[in-house]
Structure formats: C-alpha cells, structure tokens
Symmetry: C2
Subunit: 236 residues, 2 copies
DNA sequence: CGATGTCCTGATGTCAACATTAGGACATGG
DNA sequence: CCATGTCCTAATGTTGACATCAGGACATCG
C-alpha cells in the first residue's frame, strides 16, 4: 500500500451538491451566463438551501461561477479576456509544478502519467469521446501537481482547474480534430521530460503546452466574446 | 476620479465576521493551532452560527485556517514546510505579476507604489511599528497584483496573502532589525524596475525578493516547527 | 494489564422559517 | 417623451432549532 488508503472521507451534502452542479455545467445544462437559483437547486437536489449555498460557494472558489450581494450566482462567461487571464496564470503554475515535480516525483507518479497517456491513445483508438479525452487531459495535469508535493500549489491549481476544464471542453467543440491530433504527442513529451529531461527545457515546454491550448481556444472564439446566453424564460 | 468609486459594497455579516476573526488571528488572540468553535464565535460576535460558518469558510479559502468534517477549524501552524510551500508559490506568482505589471501598469498604479515606499520610510522614522510596516509591505504587493490587471492572478494571490501576512508578522517578531534594514531598499528597487526596468531583471529581482523573505523567516524558525499551541483550558 | 466495546458529550451538519434587499414595473410629473 | 419616484416581487441574507457525528472516558472481558 503506497498511499495509505485515501481516508474514507465522509463528505457532506455541500460537496455532493457542488459535484452535481459542476457536472451539470460541464454537460451544458447550465450554459455560460445562466443563473443558479438557490431555491431551485435546493428543490431539485432535495437538500436544504444552506447546503446548496455552501456548495455554490465552493464552485465560486473554483472560479466556475460568480456571485454577489443579493445577486444570483451565475455561470462564468467565456470571453477572450477570461481565457487570457486563466492561461497566463496557468502557464506560471504549470511551469512551477513541472520543475518541482522534476525533482520530487516518485516512480509511481511517473508511471501513472504514462498510464494516462496510454489511456488517451486507447480512447482515440476507440472512437475518441471528446469529454473523456478532456477528462484524461485534466487528470494528467492533476497528477503533475500532485507529484510536485506542494499543497498550496495544488490549491492554486484547483482554483482554475474547473475553468480550464470548461475551456477545454469548448475547445474540442470548436476544433476537435486539431486537439485530437496533438493531445497524445504533447503529453507524452511532457511525461518524458518529467522523467529525465533538462529542467530548463521542461519549463519552456510546459509553458508552450499551455500557450498552444490558449491559441487553439482563442482561434475558436468569435471576435469579442462567446456569450450564448440562454435565458430560461423569454422576455414575453 | 481615477478608479470610478469603489462601489459602495454592502458586505453582509459573513465578511464582517471573517474580518474580525482574521484580525484576531493576526493580533495573536488565536495562536497557531487554536480551535475556532462556531458557537463561541457566534456568541462573541453576536451573529448567527451560519454567518460565522460562512466567514470561516472564507478564511479557509485564504489558507489561514483549516477545517474538516465534524472537526473544529483551527488556525494553521507555521512549520518550515508550510513556509517553503507558500514562498515557492509566491515566487512564481510575484514573478508573473511583476512582468505583467511592467507592461500594463498605469501612472497612477506606479505613483501609488512610490507613496507606499514613502510610507514605509515615514513609519521607520516615526519609531517603526512592526505591524504597520508589514501592512505596508503587503499593500505594496497588493498594488503590483492590481496593476497587472489579471483577476485570476489576484485571486491566486489572495489565497496566500493572509498566510504571507502571518508569516511576515512572525518574521519581524524574530528579526525586526534585519527586516527594517532591508524593507525600504528592496521595495524601492522593485518600484523602480516596474517603472523602467528590463523585464528579465525585474523577474529575477522579484523572485529574489521572495527568496530573501523566505530565508529570513526560516532562520527564525526552530529546527522542526513553531507550534506554540496554547490550549484555552487546561486538561484538568 | 492490555484490548475491546459502550456510552456520553460537545461540537459540527442540516434544515425550514423569517428578514432584508436589488431590480424592475408602473405611475406620475415635467 | 423622458426623467423621477414609488411600490412590488422574487430572490438572497440571516437566524435558531434539530439531527448527526467524532473522540474520549469509562467499564468490561480476555
């Protein structure tokens, strides 16, 4: 037993609610700009408003939704500015995570990276469900952050992780072929560099990997913004 | 009016509670390791447990306290490992913030930096209250992050800001003379580089500034950890 | 005497009712 | 027709009571 069993964490309704709502956002049920009303969610999920409220606060910490005083929390929009902000920060974090993991990663961590890359290949061979590929992509980077062994760094990553996830989903929607053609190669190279690469090269490639994602996503975004708001009820 | 009036935000009891508890932690009223019981705080602050709970969640987002399932939230300890984690992350964030601000900062942002440095000098000349100096130090870096104009980067900074504040308070407790001798010079150099420095040099100096703080703090930490727990009531 | 099971206590988790508020619909006056 | 003030409503903010749980004290058994 290498990791001492993940401590059978009992999690509480707030976490449960957060997971459900997050999944609903990723699935497109709540498009960007949609309002997340506490009473609605509470009825639908069969939990109290307090728990929903706490769950929404957690999603806000992840940057997936925004809230305000006496104002419904809403799903974030995907504007070019948002993309620039998130990926600029992600480049800095990924760079630190990669160089730290280069020193600190255990053999288990590294082989798990290989396994995830293999999973991507298998997924593509099996037809290539876009959402599953993105999940593997995110999981790959999760693993790098975990390998670095810096709890605060993991927290910082978690604060943009869901946004990156959402952005990547939109990216594959707009340009799936381009994504599919690159995802395995880029990640395999990162895995190799993490195992036995020069630290400078690793840092540079980690930043370029993010930059590649950023440009690919921006190319698929209409000039100004992708609002695509879908108000539940028309304005009569 | 340069910044369009700061929007008269009404904030709610949760924020109020968070501010009060944070201040109490900085003042030493709640030493590292102390348990923050919701009922106690609720009675003392004259607000409901729900509001206290939400305020504590905010402090947890800042990394100042830790919570768990059915376990009291407690003030973080200050171990060497914690310091390494926070300052490694801070170095990466400060580097990004500085280089971004080098391009994006307005004249107002830059002159506010000068004003803060002048405030430090004045404070030292006036005797030099340690807590006020640290507050100016933090405010200086707040301003750099603000000048960079990346909301996500600001959020990432806010997730370690209070920890840095706490660490710096401990640093001046352990080695005030060393801190006082360096604080003005280092910040003045950063301000100058932000106004008209080479980007590479700026990035390097920003990282070194953090590294200087890290080493100074670690030197004041006993070998293993600084626990210094002060249980409220004895164990009879 | 050590290991194990039971109970108790003090805390957090959850809930539903009440208070407050933002934002818009509407009426009014210029 | 536009500007302004008033009111209403649907949402969030806040609260106190109740349900549940973790951890330790204690008794019991081997």
């Amino acid at each position: 037993m290498s990791s001492a069993l993940p401590r059978a964490a009992r999690r509480g309704l707030a976490d449960e609610a957060a997971d459900l709502v997050r999944a609903a956002i990723f699935s497109g049920h709540f498009p960007p700009g949609a309002a997340l009303r506490e009473v609605e969610l509470a009825e639908h999920l069969q939990v109290s408003r307090g728990s929903v409220r706490e769950g929404l606060a957690r999603l806000e910490r992840e940057g997936l939704v925004r809230g305000g005083w006496h104002r419904s929390t809403t799903v974030i929009e995907v504007t070019a500015e948002d993309v620039q902000e998130v990926y600029a920060l992600r480049a800095a974090l990924d760079r630190l995570a990669a160089t730290t993991a280069r020193r600190a990663a255990s053999a288990e961590h590294l082989s798990e990276l290989d396994r995830l890359v293999a999973g991507m290949e298998a997924e593509i061979a099996a037809g290539g469900d876009a959402h599953r590929l993105v999940a593997l992509d995110i999981a790959f980077h999760d693993q790098i952050y975990r390998a670095a062994g810096n709890g605060r760094l993991v927290t910082a990553w978690e604060a943009i992780r869901s946004q990156v996830h959402l952005f990547q989903l939109r990216r594959v929607d707009a340009a799936y072929d381009h994504y599919r053609a690159r995802v395995v190669g880029e990640h395999r190279e990162l895995a190799a560099l993490l195992r036995s690469g020069d630290s400078r090269t690793l840092a540079r490639r980690a930043e370029e990997h993010v930059d590649s994602a950023r440009r690919s996503l921006l190319a698929g975004l209409p000039a100004r913004a992708v609002t695509e708001r879908a108000e539940a009820s028309g304005r009569r």
